[in-house]
Each structure stands twice: as C-alpha cells, then as structure tokens.
C-alpha cells in the first residue's frame, strides 16, 4: 500500500477516497471530483472530516492519533480558513500518508 503501490485491495486510493467522501457526505459519487472542495462544493461540516478519518482508519487498518488530521491540514494550509480548500485529492493524500506511516 506504500511506495509505488497506490491501491487498496484492487482499487486506486483515489477511487476509494471518492467513495468514502460520497458516502460520508451523502452526495452522488459523480459529484466528487479530485478538485471538489468538500466544504464549498459538497457541504461538508467539521464533524464530517472526523467521520472521514474514521473511515480511512477502517480502510488502512490503523488508528490515526488525535489531531493528526488537523496537523496535516494546518501544515498544508497555514493560513486561517484554509479548511475551505480541502479537496478530495487532499483527503487522498492524507489517506496514503497515514497508510505508509
């Protein structure tokens, strides 16, 4: 699941993450694009991001420590309000990072 391999089972991480996002946010899969803002475009609320972390834990089979997602977002978007810039692609990046720890 790390290095050159970017799949979970038989699916690429990107596809798995899209499905997780669609399921957690209750939106059609076809509305989740790599550049879709989870907050602006898909209506995500803060608790939805924790649910995504839970689902990623289930997928990668590891517990993600408290605050790890927030540290990741803070590092990626140091400016205040950067959470609105979180896209499906960003979530995929986080999932792969956690899988490879």
């Amino acid at each position: 699941m790390c290095g050159d391999s970017q799949v979970v089972g038989t699916l690429p991480y990107a596809d798995v993450v899209r499905e997780l996002i669609a399921d957690v946010l209750g939106v059609p899969l076809e509305s989740v694009h790599p550049e879709s803002s989870l907050i602006r475009d898909l209506g995500a609320e803060s608790i939805d991001f924790l649910d995504l972390v839970f689902r990623i834990e289930d997928v990668i089979g590891k517990r993600i420590p408290i605050g790890r997602w927030e540290r990741f977002v803070e590092h990626r978007f140091p400016e205040s309000g950067g959470g609105k810039l979180i896209t499906s692609e960003i979530v995929r990046e986080f999932a792969e990072l956690e899988a490879c720890r």
């Binding site: 608790i47 924790l50 978007f77 205040s80």
Partner: protein, 179 residues
C-alpha cells in the same frame, strides 16, 4: 443551500441588533441542517459559537477529541447530550481562537470548578485564554457559546439563532447553561 440562507439571515439580524457600535465588530457563525447561530461582538473580544445536531455526535467522536485533561469537566456535562456538548464547546473555542485548525481538538481543554459547577474552556497556548461556556438545546440541535467578558466600555454581545431561514430570527442574550 439552506444553511447559507439561514446564516445570511442570522448575520444580518445580529449586525442590526448591534446598532452602531463605536468599534469594529466581529462575528462567529455556525450553521447546520438549515439552521444558524451567530454571535456578534467587539472585534477584540474572544468568543465563538457552534451548532450541532445532538444525534450526530457519538461516543466515538468524543473519544477522538477528548484527552485526559477533559475528563473531569466531561463528566459533569448533562448525560442526554454530553458528547454533542463536548464537541460543540471544543469547536466553538477553536473558532474563537481564530486558528481553529491549530487548536482543535487538543489545544482546547474543557474545564470545570467542581465547587461552583462553573464550566468553561481553555485555549492552551503560550498565553492560555479561559472562556466561559454556555449552551442551549432547541429541538434536535445544540448550540454552544464560549466567550470572555466583553471589553470595558463595549456593548454586550448580540446573539441570534435562526431555526430555519423562513422563520423569524430569535434574538436572545447569550444562552444560559443548564445549571
């Protein structure tokens, strides 16, 4: 979206309720499921609001955001909505800080005075800030407010709650806790 409409109505009502203040105003806004809550006050005043559906927050969510330092205060929260209140207080405090990603969840501590029953939150940073907590429950939604005392000479905060955008905004003083 319904949330944004409700937030717009609440913002306008909160600003109108503040009248013509002498200094700059700041707003804390939260919206969910078509409802919104807004707290307006002096810009140099630290405050925050969060709105959450009670059923949305489960014990698993609580376990993910609470630390050992929160345990005493968490144990004093009303059991019917303990998890939702813990979540909303931490969210409101993180928003109040102006650096939510930095403080949520580990940089916010739930605190209590067991003798008086006082409940608050502390932003644990180089210079800790302690904020008083208050909340109310409306139907299936819980609203939490955290704030420090308004600066001297400034008007009290203006709090507005909009259940649905089509309903009239409810203007109320900062809500009282269940004590």
């Amino acid at each position: 979206m319904a949330d944004e409409r409700a937030a717009r109505v609440a913002r306008m009502a909160a600003l109108a309720a503040c009248g013509s203040p002498s200094g700059q105003l700041s707003l804390s806004v939260s919206h969910t499921e078509g409802s919104a809550a807004v707290l307006a006050g002096a810009a140099e005043h630290v405050f925050g609001v969060d709105l959450v559906r009670v059923e949305r927050v489960t014990p698993r969510h609580s376990r993910a955001i609470l630390t050992a330092g929160d345990a005493e205060a968490y144990g004093t929260l009303p059991s019917a909505y303990r998890d939702a209140l813990a979540w909303a207080l931490k969210e409101a405090a993180a928003k109040a800080s102006g650096a939510a990603q930095h403080f949520f969840p580990g940089g916010v501590r739930l605190i209590t005075d067991p003798l008086t029953g006082w409940l608050g939150v502390r932003l644990t940073d180089a210079t800790p800030i302690t904020l008083k907590a208050a909340w109310f429950v409306s139907g299936d939604l819980l609203c939490a407010v955290v704030s420090e005392a308004p600066p001297r000479g400034h008007a009290a905060q203006s709090f507005i709650y909009v259940r649905q955008a089509s309903e009239a905004p409810v203007a109320a003083p900062p809500p009282a806790g269940a004590r």
